[in-house]
């Protein structure tokens, strides 16, 4: 048995508030969360004969519930992602307002910018040669074409180190949070 027709607006209103509070998470993830919450309420009402109000009460305040999903998901996603935007979101969520977070974010942005500069340098070298560009007279190239693979490799290495250290920081924050809870 699914919740009666009269109870549906109450459930939908509650789920609507959760949806609003989950804004920013991927649509598919939000739909899945809401489907599970709806299933929980239907189960309590249908199988255990609980009232709709009591079933919704077991989930707690919709905004608080959404917040419980949000930081965890953002932090977990950041730890598994290569996307700089998602990692930055994870850093933003981790240890809010601390000097450590600011330092970790600054180091990550610095590492990422260095990678971009190195890759642009490699690209410029390739483009300069294809346009027939040569070093100014009297100047001597130290690395020549070697600058391309070296810049690409160094850029990749710096990106790898920046990603790893940012993820380590986010993970460390989660562990310290867990320690506080215990």
């Amino acid at each position: 048995m699914i919740a009666s027709t009269g109870a549906k607006p109450v459930i939908e209103r509650y789920l609507g508030r959760v949806r609003v509070a989950l804004r920013g998470l991927p649509e598919r993830e939000v739909d899945d969360i809401l489907r599970e919450l709806r299933s929980h309420v239907d189960e309590l009402v249908g199988k255990e004969g609980s009232g709709v109000e009591a079933a919704l009460q077991s989930l707690g305040d919709p905004v608080d519930l959404a917040q419980t999903y949000r930081p965890d998901n953002e932090i977990v996603r950041a730890r598994c992602s290569d996307s700089p935007l998602i990692i930055l979101q994870g850093l933003r969520r981790a240890s809010r307002g601390t000097l450590g977070r600011a330092t970790a974010t600054a180091l990550y942005v610095f590492g990422y910018s260095t990678m971009v500069m190195l890759w642009v340098e490699a690209l410029e070298k390739l483009l300069a040669r294809s346009r027939g560009g040569n070093p100014p007279s009297g100047a001597r190239e130290l690395l020549g074409w070697w600058v391309v693979p070296i810049a690409l490799l160094a850029g990749w290495g710096i990106k790898y180190a920046s990603d790893r250290s940012a993820r380590w920081w986010i993970g460390r924050h989660r562990r310290s949070q867990a320690t506080q809870e215990i």
Partner: protein, 114 residues
Amino acid sequence: MAKWEVQLRKGCLELVILGCLWPGKLYGLEILRRLESDSDLVLSAGTVYPLLSRLKAEGLLKSEWVEADAGHPRKYYQLTPAGRSRAVHMARMWARFSTSLKGLLSPILKEGGK
């Protein structure tokens, strides 16, 4: 309930969810009822569902929607191989920790019981 007891219970949430799912797959409400019947832990649905979502995102659980006879679908969770090995590791750590305290606690329990 004393604050330290609340913190102790919070600290073992992940282990008890993995423990619940050790024998096989369960859906959210079954997990809640299993916790109530097999342990002293009475958790709210608002705690368990986000935790399941996090454990899934960490690759410790996988889930599937199953159309139930009840007329609505149920989301079943089960341990992944990574989840099983995490459960074994955590259970061993917990048992070791608990054993290591035995020497300290047994005189208290002995004399406190008098």
